[in-house]
Subunit: 337 residues, 2 copies
């Protein structure tokens, strides 16, 4: 089968750009016994991919040059030499930035059938997928949010943040979002049901952001779900209540390698805070419980989400660069079929 | 009874000095029913007192001006109107920087009888007291050190740090200390039995301190017991293994209010670290178990400690300023009798 793929052509020296990627054409190899050919319908774009473009120490191995960019995909089995899958099955996998993938279907965790009768296929890349589970694990397992507490999440309109706030509300918390721009903030408040949302683009220094947070969280902050880092982290940290918990999920403000020092680590001591980094793939035991709740929420319409949809594989690099700059609105996906 | 007391005369604008204190004379009040008059034999000097000299938000209330400085004391009951205590009893309390105190002995936690037949009285202010329990709680409850792991502690020759390393060794860990000067480091290694000790005065920038740590902890660092902050914290953080734990007990490098930003908080994410501040008085349920182990260790001679002894109440301010500058060697106490 004729296949199109996007490979990592070069590593960014600072900010990533579309020039770091290259579109290539190839033929899918013939299937071996146990293998499945999947046609991808949707490709997931996620901030963690930026980290993998760098060389050097991080939690994930660096993406090798001239290999297909890693990424979650949902699609349809078009050919199968595995007894577990048949043509027409809807499947979730890590097919990468390409139109087709050949998968060793027998290896555990490589490919999972998904039910698209009550849940849209693309949701398995977002609210009912890795981003949703990330929100669930951070809120419940790292923060341990309790009814009556105030939880703050930044990148609040995004795939992870939007779920964090809605789950926090369902647990009886006050949910405060931080997002970029009035339109995103209105969505976070009015459609997702957060109690408040702060537009960080309208509050660009410590003092004004702190004033906005004081208004949005007058009782202080008990839980922070951190996706951004930098100034936002400094400000929220300064408003944490005693025994507050900070789940560090991402620090997208520093993905290009610029220093993002934490201004006042003494607060960890004086407020007896717990700050903990986590990666959702290291909490596999929690996934079934998380996916059950998230799936029920999306199927019933209670758990809301929004998608930014780029069309065609060739649009993936620009869509990814836009995601890093916050130009997406909700979960960023690429529609391939 | 004629009493001498040291009160907080003024708040430091930056570094604390002896001029912030004042010696006053007074008469102890007549005992009310249920009260006890205690003559202090030893006064404890501890870094946390520096925080209380400041105004403003911290975990402890600020010390009021013109009141007797707070502090732990061991002494002897000289007069009693309480059925629970009789003259001659050795007692531990929070008598403060003065020669005598009148204590409401009926209030829970105000005064505790101590056995000085196998444990020296002054040890109840150090290894078998608040500093020792601080070490125990941080190592076992916050870090959760396991056999085979590497634990780093700074201020390693001090009242807390010396216990951290010895307990870590007893649990089968590699114990690495950081202390100021060759003499302290020799004591930490040769007398306390740490595996290695780094002299931070001989490694004053990131690169040289990191090189020393790489030599002392070639397998990286799993647990950090943090008393100092600043450059030391930055360096050890950069050498933490995945899933490392950092117990934040103190940040003495920033007690004078100077900024001590944390250089690279991304490490919390990339290494999935847990960093948690704690105060030993908020873990009262753990004290009995901790004191049992610490007391047995001191009584048997296995748990070693060293004291810097200042003579006379009037020497307390200078001894305290010396403690903040690291001029003490081991637990800083003031001998009053």
């Amino acid at each position: 089968m004729q296949n199109r793929q996007i490979v990592l052509a070069s590593r960014p020296s600072a900010a990533a750009s579309v020039d770091n990627f290259r579109l290539v054409q190839s033929q899918t190899p013939a299937l071996q016994s146990g293998q499945v050919l999947v046609r991808h319908h949707y490709l997931s774009l996620d901030p963690y991919m930026r980290g993998r473009m760098n060389e050097g120490k991080s939690y994930a191995a660096a993406q090798a040059l001239d290999t297909v960019m890693i990424g979650g995909t949902v699609g349809e089995v078009v050919e199968s030499r595995s007894e577990a899958f048949k043509p027409g099955d809807s499947v979730l996998g890590m097919g990468g930035w390409q139109e087709y993938s050949v998968v060793d279907a027998g290896q555990p965790g490589m490919l999972r059938k998904v039910d698209t009768s009550t849940i849209p296929a693309s949701a398995y890349l977002g609210a009912v997928g890795m981003p949703g589970v990330t929100a669930w694990v951070g809120l419940n397992h790292i923060i341990g949010a309790k009814a009556g507490e105030t939880v703050v999440v930044d990148a609040a309109s995004g795939a992870v943040g939007s779920v964090v706030g809605q789950l926090a509300k369902a647990r009886g918390c006050r949910a405060v979002g931080i997002a970029g721009g009035a339109e995103k903030c209105a969505y976070v408040r009015d459609e997702l049901g957060f109690d408040a949302c702060i537009d960080y683009k309208a509050a660009r220094d410590f003092k004004s952001l702190a004033a906005a947070l004081d208004a949005a969280a007058p009782g202080g902050v008990d839980g922070l779900f951190e996706n951004v880092g930098g100034l936002i982290l400094d400000v929220v940290l300064s408003r944490m209540n005693a025994f507050g918990r900070i789940a560090v999920c991402g620090m997208i403000s520093g993905y290009n390698g610029e220093p993002i020092p934490l201004a006042d680590p003494r607060l960890v001591l004086t407020q007896r805070l717990k700050m903990q980094g986590f990666i959702v793939s290291e909490h596999l035991a929690l996934w079934p419980q998380a996916l059950a709740e998230l799936g029920a929420g999306v199927a019933s319409g209670k758990l809301k989400y929004r998608e930014s949809v780029a069309q065609g594989l060739e649009s993936a690099p620009a869509a990814f660069i836009g995601l890093l700059a916050g130009r997406n609105f909700g979960k960023q996906i690429v529609k391939l079929v």
